[in-house]
Symmetry: C2
Subunit: 445 residues, 2 copies
């Protein structure tokens, strides 16, 4: 697995009508992935290869909130060492946000503010590295600017650990989370294998995933290491049936002495209610239900049924920030997502999102293909039925091969003094050019 | 950090009265560590270097239970590839157990059975790789055999992730769990650092530790990577005071916008009650309280106090089986523990446990020194007050340096097809020589 970041810029056919020397605005939004900063590095590095078309690349602190508040870093002035470091560190180097603009008709002030900002910084390109919803907001911003006489092209940079991005083979960020979860589940499985005779016979691990169960499927990869491992997968797409689940647990324990389960946090019962809610956040836009605890609920159900010790692991944020267990495939893909966004802009695109188009599955090879940002935002990639076994409590061969394809390769990571070298980069904020603006009155999502 | 497994056997002064060609019994008991199998490999490999003193090395399946039930592997006949694989795999290669013998006076049948077994297999050495209690039981077994005319020497092989082993600089197994927890906490910290402005401001991770808080201290290592990270450590030794805790959370969030907490699962309130109990297991010997959920309790307390999103991670078994994040220092130490047990036997010891005696702390250098097994079993190594700050909610410089010393170095691990090469070893059981015995009537602990 070789990581390729460079290409020959002279081979690229650039759109004929492209404005010259316009500046870039880049922002990160939504939940982070272990590789989102590789996308950031790709945007910065690729843009630098086309100095005739791009001026400076400004990065907004905390996504669109930083745009509103004029909190920017001039990423083009960051050192080569800082950009290289960005390739590997988790989190979001420029800060992400759970913050979205209001609809234009409700809060035109926000849009007018951004137009002022984009004019003041001569922004011609807006690359937004976020979830579907926030990328569409970025597009609305660009269109507002265009209709007010300031040409801004908007291209999305794909990322999500949930893998719910439609029209794409997979989402950048998913492969690393899946690799981390599979690795952890296998290791814990070795633990239970060693202990089950006189101790823990049931172990459950909770994977992230509100509506889609992609990450829970990673548990099935344990069979690559522990052949015929007694595993139960409970993806968010399938209603949880307690009786069928416990029958399966009994069957596994009768056959092999123990049972390992990977469950989506977004698991619902047959009435459509979440098994577990960690909390409800009251916002101006309504209640935001924070999930969590489905693993504990499953553990309690198993515990009440079985006369043995049970254990439950909830990796939570660990699964989306595990820089020490990144899939080299996913890392490359995240880089490609950022690079493809810049190339799409050079080719005159606007309102598009480069997604992953597989040209081979084993080993996975791909190209980035642009799709319509608004079209993809209205779709959701859910686990297809043929990726699951007939009882929907395990992964089919087809699903297994798919998962294997995205976790291939180990991204190297430097350690210093026994710990990963992933220090945050000290960012130098640009001096402000406009008057201040309070973004805190705006919506959360 | 170089891993050394060999030495010149001719340099060792062997006890003059040592019996010749006696066989070895080795067993694994209690909770596993990520490196316990390195100790197993060390026992087997070191014994092989002294063919004039040791015959075969038998490994009991599931520790003392396997001894009773005559479930053995002749480890001396395992291939070099299998032994090499044993160096890296998590879990317990021969199966561990949460099972201990009854006291001799309550159940002499068990002891008579083991005497029969040890005679039939010509066992002269019993190496038991377990917790304090089970190692002492092994010693009682050896003494019973001796008093019945069959000479068996018993040496303990130290292991525990909890680090509560007294008279030792640290416990083999602790360094890897600490390194895993520190790495995970740092990565999650980078996540919260990126998100806190508009999302999660408080994150808590639950570390194992029933009575001792050593593993929770690993959270403090985050400051090596995120300077001045806003961290709160809640070790099991210190009663949880809600008001002081929330005041500290408020202080951290006011200063830096977010707060990261690492808490022991065994945290108790000021009345001495556990904050959270996952379940109670009813055994013949009384109730066994399974802890878990302290992290969630802390998260709920913070959530009720703060007007923001909070997150909670519970790595559970992942912290004691993370073969992909093993401290090379700890790995070497676990190997040394097994090797030292065999050397202690060669030097005529009985009833001892080789522990870690540091000769230098930075970098950590050590020799293995034997201590009295019964003496050490009655002690507990708790976090000393001077390893904590004055408010006992963070780690002092002294504690920080100690933690750093045990996590140094990254043990390499092979991956295959994107996943760690940690398949269980297919074990070939020895043909039985005695009539069958039902161990299931015996006690759990």
């Amino acid at each position: 697995m070789s990581f390729s970041s460079s290409f020959d810029p002279s081979t690229l056919e650039v759109a004929t009508n492209l404005p010259k020397s316009k500046n870039i605005m880049y922002g990160q939004a939504g939940g982070v992935t272990a590789v989102i900063n590789a996308s950031a590095a790709a945007v910065i590095e690729t843009a630098k290869q086309f100095p005739q078309y791009f001026g400076d690349c400004f990065a907004a602190i905390n996504g669109i909130q930083g745009v509103l508040e004029e909190n920017f870093v001039n990423a083009s002035q960051m050192s080569d060492e800082e950009i290289a470091h960005m390739h590997s560190i988790p989190g979001a180097v420029f800060g992400a946000c759970r913050f979205d603009l209001d609809p234009l008709e409700h809060n035109p002030t926000q849009y007018a503010r951004i137009l002022d900002i984009f004019k003041a910084y001569d922004i011609g390109y807006f690359f937004y590295n976020g979830g579907n919803g926030s990328m569409v907001t970025a597009l609305k911003v660009a269109e507002y600017c265009q209709s007010n006489g300031h040409d801004v092209r908007c291209i999305g940079v794909a990322k999500t650990i949930d893998n719910d991005l439609a029209l794409s083979y997979c989402s950048p960020g998913f492969g690393s989370a899946a690799k981390y979860l599979a690795t952890s589940f296998i290791e814990a499985g070795m633990d239970v294998l060693a202990m089950h005779k006189t101790s823990t016979k049931f172990f459950v691990m909770e994977a992230m995933g509100r509506d889609v169960g992609w990450l829970s499927l990673a548990g099935s990869l344990i069979k690559e290491v522990i052949p015929n491992a007694p595993v139960i997968i409970l993806p968010a797409e399938k209603a949880f049936n307690k009786e069928k689940f416990l029958a399966k647990v009994d069957e596994k324990i009768a056959q092999q002495g123990y049972c390992l389960c990977m469950a989506s946090e977004g698991l619902r019962d047959e009435s459509g209610n979440y098994l577990a809610i960690a909390g409800v956040e009251h916002t101006d836009e309504g209640d935001y239900t924070q999930l969590g605890g489905a693993g504990r609920v499953i553990a309690d159900i198993a515990s009440a049924h079985l006369d043995c010790k049970i254990h439950c692991a909830v990796p939570d944020y660990l699964q989306r920030s595990a820089s020490h267990c990144v899939s080299a495939t996913d890392w490359q893909m995240a880089y490609d997502a950022g690079k493809a966004a810049v190339i799409a802009a050079l080719q005159g695109e606007h309102g598009t999102l480069p997604v992953v188009s597989a040209t081979s599955e084993s080993p996975l090879e791909w190209t980035m293909q642009s799709v319509d940002l608004e079209k993809v935002a209205n779709l959701e990639y859910r686990v297809p039925d043929d990726f699951l076994t007939e009882d929907a409590m395990d992964v089919s061969d087809k699903g297994h091969q798919y998962l294997l394809s995205v976790i291939q390769g180990e991204r190297p990571l430097s350690f210093q003094n026994g710990l990963p070298s992933i220090s945050p980069i000290a960012l130098t904020l640009c001096d402000k050019r406009l008057k201040s603006f309070d973004a805190s009155k705006n919506s959360h999502y």
